[in-house]
Each structure stands twice: as structure tokens, then as C-alpha cells.
């Protein structure tokens, strides 16, 4: 339960064993391979070919191509899950190259058909209008004496055109093929003798020539053949649809093979980091200290000519960070990761934030009904959905969050925002209040009690962070810093709190006020004397010491920030109450069918409230960890440990 200690190692061996060693390393997934440093005289290992890249690109194409035809896996089934052995077996038995090739051919054919179909449809729309054209489509547009114009003009201009052309030459003819209120389609025949004048008239009448497709048949006949061709293509497309479905049966196999090539690609990238001589090689990498022996044993089985030796990291080289937590705290790593990883010398905050996080989450909801819902939904998701390991953390977190929310809801009397009068009898005690209710957050002094509770949690959380800082410093051997920067602050804040409480006679009897006063004054003096110790000059030491007292304002701000717990907790309950009120109004105001509206309002309203409130609860509990808590003892910024392993995109390896 901590940041795992890492060891930088060198693996030395013979080149002939390299493929087997890389396979073992990838299978174990415990070594992060990094650049070999300080070996200018060593050569790069021959880089393998780019077949994996090529295969991945091809399979990606096939996967996208077949996506819409693959049988959808039901949502609870998640990704295909299998063992590495059976995945490798599929790679050997499954002829993915043929499938990819067939996909490429099918795509070409399919696109050709689709394009043909579209162009036929376009032709059809044009010819549809020229159905009554009195001659074949391929009729030449001019002879020695005559020129033919085929085109459109505004219907209003038609008579003008006919008259004026007739005036020019009585050998001209205007034939109307069809018309509607705006445009007429016409065929104009003009003697070449008067063609220039005729062209002017055509221009005046806004005639636009149209280019018709050339065919040795009449328009009507061509339309028939188009219809026939379309039917053919449709049959073809249907045939290809079957082909699609047939190929899509291999969709899952393609996914599996894709991921295996992904491993090979990773192996290629890993090889690029290696160095070697003609016969030997060096791998440099990071390994968790406790995995080293196991890896040694595994590698010894391959060959006796392999050595793993621990080496010193370079100056300023960052140690990669691996967090490992016990089962109960593990889900909370998702909160830590949201912020970023701690540095190698810092403490893993996960186990320490877990309890606080879940209590804060619950306080932001404080509704037993919502808690139960959340718990049941997340429990069902875990039980019935095949989820990848990484997403399980968040789901588990929300599940336990739901459980604690239930407890908080019972203590605060929150049940879907119901008032005791509306709630079912078994929840309500004899005095008309909810059973087990300790605080009623919406009446009397309840809100204030809730607020004080939130602030007390804040004080505990902040001081805990400071104590954690102290103990971690002691562990690192920084005794002076631990006492002066951490414990002194805790002492100082506690004595101020004690002085405040005792002098106003709350919680602590007033008799103690005097003691706390001296403790506080002692704290002030100690702060002034010690907090500026890093400064060189006396004035600097003293000045910084006085200035450090200003840090109290920061702590005050930190603690007040926890008041959000109360605001969010109240908010959830009041919105739930509002939804119930609106549903009640629906029943009162709409005759007969009001209850239908009421049910809709209740379902939608409570779902929305649960989703938004849970999101808010998560975000704000996380923020309290990151800003108010982490700030006391860690900076973060560690880089993640990314071992060379079998990582998958589409499948889950057991």
C-alpha cells in the first residue's frame, strides 16, 4: 500500500535468446524498458521489419469497414475475453490476410456499384423530363443545313421565341417537349443560313442549352434500360450485403489478431531501445524491486547466459511510479490518479484519503434512498457486466459510496426527500420523526449542526494531512523539519482551537482557558523563532517567522471550504423534496391522469438529481482531497510506470 520501490536494472544476454526473452518480458509485464545510457560504442539491434504496422493498418481498415455489419455484443458482455494462449491460437489458425483482402475487394466492388447507381439515378432524373423527345438520344446536333438546339427556357418566353424565330426563317421549328409553369423544355431546329440571328433570339429568350447523354435509343427506351440496370445493381448490392455479413462473422477474430499485432508493434518499439554487439544485447529498464527475483527465475529457464544486474539511475533520472494498494483502498487509486501520481519520495495518499473521501461523498448526498439506488446499480454493474479491470475501480468506489450514503441518509433522515408525513410508516418512529435520525438538516438548529459537523471534518482532515506530512518526514529522516514544519503547526492550531472553545465555554470548560492561552502564546513564540530558520540574516529569520503566522489565514480558508459538504448535502435533499412537491402538484391539478405525470416527474426528476448530485459529490470530495489535503504533504508530478506488456485495445486477456 504505497508507492512501490523501483530498481533500475540491466539485462544482458545473447542475441539468439532475444526473441524469447522479449516474449517473456512482455508476458510478465513487469519491466519498463528505457534507453540504454552511456554505451556510445554499442550498436542498435537490427530493427525488425514493419510488418506489424502494416498488418495493424490493414486490420483497422477491415474493422472499420465491417463495423456496421458485425453482430453487436450486448452491453454487459464488454470486450471479448480470452487467454493469451487461445488468442495466439487464433492468430495461427485464422487466415486474416484473406479476410482483409476480401474486404478490400468487396469495398472496391461495393463502391463501384454505389457510384454506378448514383450516376444512373442522376441520369434518370434528367431524362425523366425529356421522356417525350421525338428522336433518339444520339441524333447528331447538326447536319449540313440544319442545327438542333436542345434546352430549356422560361415558359413565359416560349411564344416570343416561336414568333421571332419564325420571323427570321420559316424553316425554323420550335418543338415543346414538356412544360410546367416556370420552365419549358424545347427542341429548336434552325437553318444554318440564319443561325446568327437565331442565336441572338435564343439568348434574348433566356434559352439554355442542355447536354443529354448519348445513347442509340429513344429517351423512353433508355429509361427502361436504366431501370433494368438499377435492378441488376440492387441485386448485386444484396449479394454483397451477404458477403458483408459473411466477412463480419470474423469481426471478433480480427479484433483478437489486431491486438496481437499490437503486442508485436510494442515489441518493435522496445527493440529500438536496446543496444548490443554482434552477439550480445543489453536491455535497460525499471522493475519493481519485489518482482526482480521472480523475473530472474523466469529468464534462467530460457538460458543460463542471461544476467540481470541492478544499476544506479542517472542523476536527475525520474523513477517511474507504481501504486499498489490493498483491496479495500485500491478503488480510491482512481481519485489519486485524477490528480496525478506522487513523486518517488512522496507518500501514496490513496489509503489515507479513502475514508475521508467516502464520508465526504456520502455527506454531499445524505439520502438513504439515493445511496441504496447507487449501491444496487453499481453492484449490478460489477456482477453482470464484463468490465475491464481499470474501470472496476471507479464502479467499486461508487458502490461503497452508495453504502456509506445510505448510512448518512439514515442519520440525517433523508429518504428521497420525503418528509416524515409522506414516508412509509416503518421508517417513522412514534414521535413523528424518522427512526435513527440524529440531525434534521432542514429545521431548527439542524443546518447549523450540519455546518459545524462539516467544519469539524475539515479540521480533522487538514490536521491529519499535516500529521501525515510530519510522520513521512520522520520516515525520511528529516526530524527537525517534521517537528518544526508539521507538528508545531498542529500543536499551534490545536491550542488556538482550545483557547477559542474554552474561553467561550463551548465543549471545553472555561477553567482551561488560561492553560490554552499560554499554550497559544508559546506556539506564537515558537513559530516566530523557527519558521524563518532558512533565512541567513537575523532580521530575515525574524521577519519570515512573523510572516508565517499569516499562514493561519490559509488554514482558516481551508477549513471553511468544507462548508460545501453541508451545502451540497442540503441541496440534494431539497431538490428531491422539490421533485416530490411538483409530482404532488401534478396529482392535485390534473384530473384523472395526474398520477401518470407525477410518476414521470418522479422518475426523471430523481434520476437527474441522483446523477448530478453524485457527480457534484464526487467532484467536490475530490477537490477537498486535492487542494485542502494533498497540499499539506505532497506535490505530485510523478510519471507513471508503463511496463512493456501485452496491452490490448479490443480484447481482455485473462
Amino acid at each position: 500500500m504505497a508507492v512501490i520501490a523501483m530498481q533500475k536494472v540491466q539485462i544482458l544476454g545473447m542475441k539468439k535468446d532475444l526473441p524469447q526473452i522479449l516474449t517473456t518480458l512482455q508476458k510478465k509485464g513487469v519491466v519498463q524498458i528505457v534507453d540504454v545510457i552511456g554505451t556510445e560504442n554499442l550498436k542498435e539491434i537490427d530493427p525488425p521489419d514493419h510488418k506489424a504496422d502494416y498488418d495493424i493498418a490493414n486490420i483497422d481498415f477491415a474493422l472499420t469497414f465491417l463495423k456496421n455489419h458485425a453482430t453487436k455484443r450486448p452491453i454487459w458482455a464488454g470486450k471479448p475475453t480470452l487467454t493469451a494462449e487461445s488468442a495466439l491460437g487464433i492468430l495461427n489458425s485464422f487466415d486474416y490476410e484473406t479476410v482483409v483482402k476480401e474486404c478490400q475487394e468487396l469495398e472496391e466492388k461495393h463502391n463501384k456499384n454505389l457510384n454506378k447507381f448514383t450516376s444512373l439515378e442522376n441520369e434518370e432524373t434528367i431524362l425523366e423530363k425529356w421522356k417525350n423527345l421525338p428522336f433518339e438520344l444520339s441524333t447528331p446536333k447538326e447536319t449540313e443545313t440544319v442545327r438542333l438546339f436542345i434546352g430549356t427556357l422560361p415558359t413565359t418566353e416560349f411564344e416570343t421565341l416561336r414568333k421571332e424565330l419564325h420571323n427570321i426563317s420559316n424553316l425554323s421549328d420550335v418543338h415543346r417537349v414538356s412544360e410546367d409553369t416556370t420552365f419549358s423544355l424545347v427542341v429548336v431546329t434552325i437553318s444554318k443560313n440564319s443561325i446568327d440571328e437565331a442565336k441572338l433570339v435564343l439568348g434574348k429568350c433566356k434559352f439554355a442549352e442542355v447536354e443529354l447523354p448519348k445513347h442509340d435509343m429513344s429517351t423512353a427506351k433508355r429509361l427502361e434500360t436504366i431501370e433494368a440496370e438499377k435492378t441488376n445493381i440492387k441485386a448485386d448490392l444484396e449479394e454483397q450485403e451477404k458477403e458483408f455479413i459473411r466477412l463480419a462473422q470474423d469481426y471478433e477474430n480480427l479484433q483478437i489478431v489486431h491486438d496481437i499485432f499490437l503486442w508485436q508493434q510494442d515489441e518493435k518499439h522496445a527493440r529500438e531501445l536496446l543496444r548490443g554487439t554482434a552477439y550480445s544485447f543489453i536491455i535497460t529498464g525499471w522493475i519493481p524491486k519485489d518482482e526482480k527475483v521472480k523475473l530472474e527465475e523466469a529468464l534462467e529457464k530460457i538460458s543460463s547466459n542471461i544476467a540481470i544486474q541492478a544499476i544506479e539511475p542517472e542523476k536527475d533520472e525520474e523513477t517511474p511510479i507504481l501504486l499498489r494498494n490493498r483491496k479495500a483502498a485500491w478503488p480510491f487509486e482512481s481519485v489519486t490518479r485524477l490528480y496525478g501520481l506522487p513523486m518517488a519520495h512522496e507518500v501514496d495518499p490513496t489509503p489515507f484519503l479513502a475514508g475521508f473521501f467516502i464520508v465526504f461523498f456520502a455527506l454531499c448526498l445524505t439520502d438513504a434512498g439515493y445511496g441504496l439506488l447507487l449501491f444496487v446499480i453499481m453492484f449490478a454493474a460489477l456482477k453482470f457486466f464484463n468490465l475491464p479491470h481499470e474501470s472496476k475501480g471507479l464502479i467499486k468506489l461508487l458502490m461503497w459510496g452508495g453504502l456509506v450514503t445510505m448510512v448518512a441518509g439514515v442519520l440525517f433522515g433523508g429518504y428521497f426527500g420525503l418528509t416524515p408525513e409522506q414516508a412509509p410508516g416503518f421508517l417513522v418512529g412514534e414521535d413523528g420523526n424518522f427512526r435513527f435520525q440524529l440531525i434534521n438538516a432542514t429545521s431548527g438548529t439542524g443546518p447549523l449542526t450540519f455546518l459545524i459537523l462539516a467544519l469539524v471534518f475539515g479540521i480533522v482532515h487538514v490536521l491529519f494531512g499535516k500529521l501525515l506530512d510530519g510522520f513521512w518526514k520522520i520516515k525520511q529522516g528529516q526530524y527537525l523539519d517534521a517537528v518544526l514544519d508539521s507538528f508545531l503547526w498542529v500543536f499551534f492550531i490545536l491550542s488556538i482551537l482550545g483557547f477559542g472553545l474554552s474561553s467561550s465555554g463551548m465543549v471545553i470548560p472555561a477553567d482551561y482557558a488560561n492553560i490554552f492561552k499560554w499554550l497559544t502564546l508559546g506556539g506564537v513564540v515558537a513559530m516566530i523563532l523557527t519558521q524563518g530558520r532558512s533565512q541567513k540574516s537575523i532580521i530575515g529569520k525574524f521577519g519570515l517567522g512573523v510572516l508565517s503566522l499569516y499562514g493561519l489565514v490559509g488554514y482558516l480558508g481551508d477549513v471553511l471550504s468544507y462548508s460545501r459538504l453541508m451545502a451540497l448535502g442540503l441541496g440534494t435533499g431539497i431538490i428531491a423534496f422539490a421533485m416530490n412537491t411538483i409530482a404532488g402538484l401534478a396529482i392535485d391539478m390534473i384530473p384523472y391522469v395526474g398520477f401518470i405525470f407525477a410518476i414521470i416527474v418522479l422518475i426523471l426528476g430523481h434520476t437527474m438529481n441522483l446523477v448530478l448530485s453524485a457527480l457534484g459529490a464526487f467532484i467536490h470530495s475530490a477537490r477537498l482531497q486535492f487542494v485542502e489535503f494533498f497540499g499539506k504533504f505532497m506535490e505530485g508530478g510523478g510519471t507513471e510506470f508503463k511496463p512493456f506488456r501485452r496491452q490490448c485495445k479490443y480484447i481482455i486477456i485473462q
Binding site: 451545502a567 431538490i575 422539490a578 467532484i619
Partner: protein, 158 residues
């Protein structure tokens, strides 16, 4: 006198709802503009984009909550309106101001932070958690506004 008291209290509820709502509308709108740009490039990020776009929406809910509490306190929601004095009504109106004004401004600025955060998510979807938290920093002040409004409305004797 009695009627104008109710009117003043309603004005308080209205201010709370509409300033909070306006802040959220502006904020969600800003984030939405940025989000639409992100999903035009990477439609697969829709879920994450929607999450961040929804963040500046809480101020509207807080404002709604403030308004609703006032309506409940003066008995306008189902049942008889309380016999309200003009003084109490003004108290309720002033009590609505914290959530209303903090909601307006924090909604607007949270929208801007969310919009910028979406750009970070577009570059690397892993940034979504950090973008959410940064936007939530702005929301703090609306939460504090809500806190004071709720405490005030509860403590005003009707």
C-alpha cells in the same frame, strides 16, 4: 400591505432563479461552443465533452434551489401563503442575493474554464479529470453563496 410583501418575496425567488440560471446558461453555452469544436474533430469524446459542458449548469440548479426554498417558506407551493410582513419579505429578498450573484458570475467564469479545459481534453482525453477539477474550483463560490442563502432563508422567522 400584505400583497406587496408577497410580491417582494417572489421577487427574491425570481432573482435567485434567473441570475443563477443566466450564469449557467452563459457558462454552459460557452462550454458548448468549445465542445462542439472538439467533437467535430473527435466525435468519440462526446461523453467526456458532455460531462464538462454540464459542469457550469449547477449554478442554475443552486439558483432554482434558492428560489424554491423561498417559495416553500412563504407557503406559495401548495397551501396557504403565510401572513408575511414587508420586513420579512425584504429579508427573504436579500437572502436570495448571495446565491443569485455568485451563481451569475461563477457560472460565466466556470464556463470559460470549462471551455479551455475542453481544449486540453481534445489534446489528450486523459486530461478530463483535471479539466473537471479546474472548472469545479470556480464553482466553490456559488456553493458558498448557496450555503449562505440556505442558512439565511432557514433562519428568517416567518
Amino acid at each position: 400591505m400584505f400583497d406587496s410583501a408577497i410580491a417582494v418575496a417572489i421577487a427574491g425567488a425570481a432573482i435567485s432563479v434567473f441570475l443563477g440560471g443566466a450564469g449557467s446558461a452563459i457558462g454552459v453555452g460557452l462550454a458548448g461552443l468549445s465542445g462542439a469544436g472538439v467533437i467535430s474533430e473527435k466525435p468519440e469524446l462526446f461523453g467526456k465533452v458532455l460531462l464538462i459542458q454540464a459542469l457550469p449548469g449547477t449554478q442554475g440548479i443552486y439558483g432554482f434551489l434558492g428560489g424554491l426554498l423561498i417559495l416553500i417558506q412563504i407557503g406559495l407551493l401548495g397551501g396557504e401563503p403565510a401572513a408575511l410582513s414587508l420586513d420579512t419579505a425584504w429579508q427573504l429578498l436579500y437572502a436570495a442575493l448571495p446565491v443569485a450573484v455568485t451563481g451569475l458570475f461563477s457560472g460565466m467564469y466556470q464556463g470559460k474554464v470549462a471551455a479551455a479545459g475542453l481544449q486540453a481534453v481534445a489534446k489528450d482525453p486523459q486530461n478530463v479529470g483535471k479539466a473537471v477539477i479546474m472548472a469545479a474550483m470556480v464553482e466553490t463560490y456559488a456553493v458558498l453563496g448557496l450555503l449562505i442563502t440556505v442558512l439565511l432563508v432557514f433562519s428568517i422567522k416567518i
